[in-house]
Symmetry: C2
DNA sequence: AAGTGGTCTAGACCACGGC
DNA sequence: CCGTGGTCTAGACCACTTG
C-alpha cells in the first residue's frame, strides 16, 4: 500500500477498497475481510478503516451486518448518483455507464431578474455572468447546464474562463471562492423549447431539473445553477443504507 | 443531560444539539461551542461529539470551518429532505412546514406483472399485496403512495395490517423482515388519471415520482414503492456540504 | 465460545485562521 | 501565537450472529 501525504489515510483506504470492488477482487454479494484484518493488512488503525467503510456504506457500495460481516452490495451498478455528489453531473453520467464530456455553449452578461437578485442577495439589475454548457453521454447531448454568477465576484478576465472545467474549479480559478455547501432542489418540469434545441427529445415531455444554489464561506450565495435532463435516458438513482 | 441506554450517546448528542438549533439557543449564522467545550459540558469524549457534529454537517444543519469554528447554517429551514431519509415521506412533509398524516386507501391482492416479478425475483404471476396510501400535508392530499409486496412474505393476517404505520414498522410487524437498504429512482412524469383522482391538480402536469426498491438482509428484494407528488407544492430539496 | 461490527474513550499531532 | 476543527492511534467494552 502506498501512502501519499496529499490525501487522508481514510480516503486512501476508501479508494483502495472501491478499486478492489470495481476490479472484482471483492465480488458482488461476497464478504470482504473484517475490520481487524483490513487494519492489519493496510497498517492503519481500526478506526481509520471504519471511517472508510462508513463512507462506502453510506453510498451503498457495501452492506454491514453486525455480528456477521461486511458484504459487497450486489446492486452497486444500479445506482448512478451518490450522496454528497448530487451536483456532479459528470459523475452522474458515468454512473449511468456513459463517457461524460462537456461542450461550452456560451458565456454572456445580463442584469439579474428580481428573483435572481433575491436569492443571490443582490440589487435588482446587477450584472450577472451566464454560463451555458452542454454535457454529453458518449456522443449524445443529455444535460443542459445553466449557471449564473454575479459579475462583481469575477477576479479574472471573462474571456479566460474555461467552460469545460468542473464548476468547483471555475469558482476557485476565476472567482477565488471556495464553495462550502450547496442546496439542491429537485424539480419535475416540461421540456421547454430552448432546452429542446440542445437535447434531443420531444417538447412537452416531463424532465428532471436540478436547481442548485451555491454558497461560499460566511454563507454568501455565490451562484445559481439549473440543470435539466431527460430522466428516461439518464437515471437519477440513489442507494441508501437503512441506518 | 439525560443519558438513556436505548440510543447511542452520539445520537443523543445529535438530538440535543438539533434541539438547541430548533429552539434558537444556537441561532442561525452564529457560532456554536467548540468540540472541546461540548465534550466537557456533556461529559462525553471529543470523538463522540465529532460523530454527532458530522451527522449534523452532512445534513446541512451546521457548517464547519477549520481553524475557526462551527456555525449554524442560516438556510436550515430551506431544506425539506435529508440524506438517508429520502424515503421518509412524513419527514418530507414536515420538512416543508406541514403537519403530516396518512390515510389508508386500500389493500388488495393481484398477480405480479412481468416487470415486478423480475425486480422482486419472483415467478411471473405470483401473488402480490398492493398497499395504497395517501399522505396529507395539513388537510391537503399531497402524496399518493403505492407499495407492492410478495404475498408469500406475509406473516400475519392481511386484515391486521395498519396502513397508517411507517413502512419500516409494517415490514417488521407483519412480515418479520428488516430492511437493510433501499434503492430510490427519482423520476419526472406526467400526472396520470388515477393519481389525479386523489391529488388535487390538473392531469398532464409534470410531477415527481420516487420509485423505491426495498431490500432485506442477504440482498433479497422485499417490496416496490411508487410515490408521486406535485413538486410545486411539496419541494424536494437537499443540503450538501461540499466535502 | 468465537468472531464480527458498533460504540466510546483518552490522548496525540496536524493544518488552518485569526489575533 | 493560540484555539479551532481534521486526522489518527490503541485499546476497551458491548451487541449481535453463527457454529
Amino acid at each position: 500500500m502506498r501512502i501519499l501525504q496529499s490525501k487522508s489515510i481514510a480516503n486512501q483506504v476508501d479508494e483502495i477498497l472501491l478499486e478492489r470492488i470495481r476490479d472484482g477482487i471483492y465480488l458482488p454479494g461476497s464478504r470482504i475481510p473484517s475490520e481487524s484484518e483490513l487494519s492489519d493488512e493496510l497498517g492503519v488503525s481500526r478506526a481509520t478503516v471504519r471511517t472508510a467503510l462508513a463512507k462506502l456504506a453510506a453510498n451503498g457500495f457495501i452492506l454491514r451486518k453486525q455480528g456477521n460481516g461486511t458484504y459487497v452490495n450486489e446492486h452497486v451498478n444500479e445506482t448512478s448518483a451518490h450522496f454528497g455528489n448530487l451536483w456532479d453531473l459528470a459523475e452522474l453520467i458515468s454512473g449511468n455507464g456513459y463517457n461524460p464530456s462537456i461542450r461550452f455553449l456560451s458565456i454572456d452578461r445580463r442584469p439579474a431578474t428580481e428573483k435572481e437578485a433575491l436569492v443571490l442577495a443582490l440589487e435588482e439589475g446587477e450584472e450577472l455572468i451566464c454560463l451555458q454548457r452542454l454535457f454529453y453521454a458518449d456522443q449524445q447531448p443529455v444535460i443542459l447546464a445553466d449557471n449564473v454568477i454575479p459579475y462583481s465576484l469575477l477576479r479574472a478576465p471573462i474571456e479566460n474562463i474555461d467552460g469545460k472545467l468542473h464548476i468547483r474549479e471555475i469558482f476557485e480559478q476565476y472567482f477565488h471562492q471556495k464553495i462550502s455547501f450547496v442546496l439542491t432542489d429537485i424539480r419535475s418540469t416540461l421540456m421547454a423549447a430552448d432546452a429542446q434545441e440542445f437535447l434531443s427529445g420531444k417538447a412537452g415531455r416531463a424532465i428532471l431539473q436540478l436547481q442548485t444554489i451555491f454558497y461560499g464561506k460566511n454563507n454568501m450565495p455565490l451562484a445559481l445553477g439549473v440543470n435539466v435532463f431527460d430522466d428516461s435516458f439518464l437515471h437519477l438513482s440513489l442507494a441508501q443504507a437503512w441506518s
